[in-house]
């Protein structure tokens, strides 16, 4: 008799423990996978852990990473931003066009202009109540068109020698400037998301927009700020990329919106909104860029196989997440 309650109690405790494990795996799974992948790669590939290679990996993910920070906010709020890839192209072109007049302008104008376009996205979504997918799809088409039109459909070279180059190619204590910028963006983004009332409101909107509204939270303003930030970061990424490559390419950032969505989803953020972490998104970006790096290391696999592996990887992660979420619910 006396053992029974203890049995149930331990059963309850063990299911609670398992539930917590599943939840942790789903939310922090990307970091676990990241550590695993790094460990295995370090054992299998001799030159994986070299300074040069690690820097390549981080630099490869840096420009995408800036977009991912904004995308994480947008997706947790229950929306999506398809226009960021085109904004990278436009940002680069604006930087290349203005750098000859004044290099600070080349750094400030792209995030400003793309931030304004993001503001437009946000206003249409929040105030006119249009679907984020459609609004930003129109942005994807229209902004790419603008970038191509401004550039006459050709890349624009940037003459070296101005301080602008430093923002793409310079180093502080041996670390590339774009990497420092993206680390800063992730740190600020993570803090805002987890530690401020703005972050809480983003989660509330993603969980249930109607409830958030009824609670009197500033839903519209919060959403507009999220899309504006996403646009400004994409413009900044475009400017830094142009500084890195010494050219503004109107086709830069093509399909990056899809890579960014993949990174966010791989990081454990649910596309339905309301659930997600900035650290997960960071792990997602690093995973995607390590994946690419590993495929380059193997060497025999072409760029085609790279796409197949990326697609397959995305599906595996999402299927595992779907399984864990279902476990969690039942």
């Amino acid at each position: 008799m006396s053992t029974r309650p203890a049995d149930t109690e331990s059963a309850v405790r063990s299911t609670a423990w398992r539930e917590r494990l599943f939840t942790t795996l789903q939310r922090r799974g990307a970091i676990a996978v990241l550590i695993l992948v790094v460990a295995v790669s370090a054992l299998v590939f001799d030159n994986f852990l070299t300074e040069q290679n690690l820097e390549n990996i981080v630099l490869q993910g840096a420009f995408l990473g800036l977009i991912v920070v904004g995308m994480t906010f947008v997706i947790i709020s229950g929306g999506i931003d398809l226009s960021v890839g085109s904004m990278v192209g436009l940002g680069g072109i604006l930087a290349a066009l203005t750098v000859q007049f004044s290099w600070p302008l080349a750094l400030i104008l792209p995030p400003l202009a793309c931030g304004l376009l993001g503001l437009g996205n946000g206003l249409l979504i929040a105030k006119a109540n249009m679907a984020p997918f459609i609004v930003t799809l129109a942005g994807l088409l229209g902004i790419r068109g603008l970038a191509l039109a401004f550039a006459n459909e050709k890349p624009i070279g940037i003459d070296g020698g101005s301080p602008f180059d430093w923002f793409g190619q310079g180093q502080i204590l041996g670390i590339s400037v774009p990497v420092i910028v993206v680390v800063f963006a992730f740190a600020v983004g993570g803090l805002v998301l987890a530690r401020t009332s703005y972050g809480r409101i983003i989660f509330a909107i993603g969980g249930s927009e109607e409830s958030a509204r009824l609670m009197g939270l500033p839903v519209d303003r919060t959403k507009v700020i999220a899309y504006t930030t996403s646009g400004a970061l994409a413009g900044l990424a475009g400017a830094l990329l142009a500084a890195r490559l010494s050219a503004g390419d109107p086709n830069a950032g093509l399909v990056w919106e899809l890579d960014a969505i993949s990174a966010v989803v791989v990081g454990g953020t649910l596309l339905t909104g309301g659930v997600g972490t900035m650290s997960g998104s960071l792990a997602g970006v690093l995973l995607l860029s390590i994946l690419q790096n590993l495929i380059n290391q193997v060497g025999t696999l072409g760029s085609y196989a790279q796409q197949v592996v990326s697609g397959f990887f995305l599906i595996v992660v999402v299927v595992v997440q779907a399984y864990l979420t279902r476990k969690e619910r039942s």
Binding site: A128, M130, F133, V135, L140, F312, L314
Partner: protein, 321 residues
């Protein structure tokens, strides 16, 4: 409510606006066609019309599948990559006869759709992610199977599908037209079509009413895969060669645009087949107008974006009210 207040006895504005709202895509197309009649030289010619219809055919084919997917509150981003897959496989099996080549290409499309559909219906993956993975991976697979190169297609039957002109009508137009009729019939006159709309309207209600939700979703993505494969075959036949790197590239964006401009809401529960066809014609006519008048093509993209926003903004009123 406001709209009723503004209506007067002589000209019922609300009736007019709601009529235009429902048929905005037709109105826009007619306006643009009239504009072209005035501005574009040689617009009213058989050659211009047939060029428009031939170039729009692959877009119409994939848009039909995307329209069904959107009707279920899903989406199919993978159509362009499925076109590339079909294009890659078509020449590989033409050695066994045109029938085998076509069958294999269609089968590959159906398989891709089956993978999408299974992930959506049975695993519960969101359609945008499931088909995004296929978008990324599918084209890579296509290029691997094609060995990264484009192969010539010489089979006369297959080439006819892209270049033939029975009774003066281009074969791609006939293929697309037939597909439109079949999908229209499926969507409007069969229980399958009703299930599609019911699932898009309210999936749990549909499930509780005993509708075969999973089977319907699976079928929708398989049909979309088949239509995309057909589009890939037609595009390959028109080129006379497979081209897995470029065939269908970014066509998913045109398809989604066509569907949405045509009046199918992204929130599902409604499928407009004829609207979708008109949407595809409209966006193709926009780019043709720019090309014919030697205007920079990139501005056509900007105009298309503006039209999407206007179309969706105008239609929104109806959906909400």
């Amino acid at each position: 409510m406001d709209r009723e207040a503004t209506s007067n006895k002589f000209l019922d504005i609300s009736t007019v606006t709601s009529w235009v709202r429902g048929r905005g895509v037709y109105v826009a197309f007619v306006v643009l066609a009239i504009f072209n009649l005035i501005v574009t030289p040689n617009f009213a010619s058989v050659a211009t019309l047939s060029t428009l219809l031939i170039t729009v055919s692959p877009i119409v084919l994939v848009s039909l599948g995307v329209a069904l997917a959107i009707g279920t509150e899903g989406i199919d981003l993978s159509v362009g990559s499925v076109m590339a897959l079909a294009s890659a496989f078509l020449p590989l099996y033409l050695g066994y006869g045109w029938l085998v080549g076509l069958a294999v290409a269609l089968l590959v499309g159906a398989l891709a759709g089956l993978v999408n559909g299974s992930l959506v219906a049975f695993v519960g993956v969101q359609p945008i992610i499931a088909t995004l993975a296929m978008l990324v991976g599918g084209r890579g697979l296509a290029q691997i199977f094609a060995g990264g190169q484009s192969l010539l297609v010489t089979d006369p039957v297959v080439l006819w599908l892209g270049q033939g002109r029975p009774f003066g009508i281009p074969a791609p137009v006939i293929v697309a037209g037939a597909a439109v009729l079949v999908v229209w019939f499926l969507a409007r006159r069969t229980t399958f079509g009703r299930y599609v709309v019911a699932i898009g309207g309210n999936r749990s209600a549909s499930y509780l009413s005993g509708h075969p939700v999973r089977r319907t979703l699976l079928a929708v993505y398989v049909i979309s895969g088949l239509l995309a494969a057909l589009a890939g075959i037609v595009a390959t036949a028109r080129l006379g060669a497979s081209d897995p790197s470029n065939i269908g590239l970014l066509i998913e964006l045109s398809a989604i645009t066509a569907v949405v401009v045509g009046g199918t809401p992204l929130s599902g529960g409604k499928v407009k087949i004829m609207g979708t066809v008109m949407g595809a014609l409209l966006i193709q006519l926009i780019s043709n107008t720019f090309i014919a008048n030697n205007l920079p093509f990139t501005w056509a993209q900007v105009l298309t974006a503006a039209i999407i926003l206007v179309a969706v903004y105008v239609q929104k009123g109806r959906g909400v009210a």
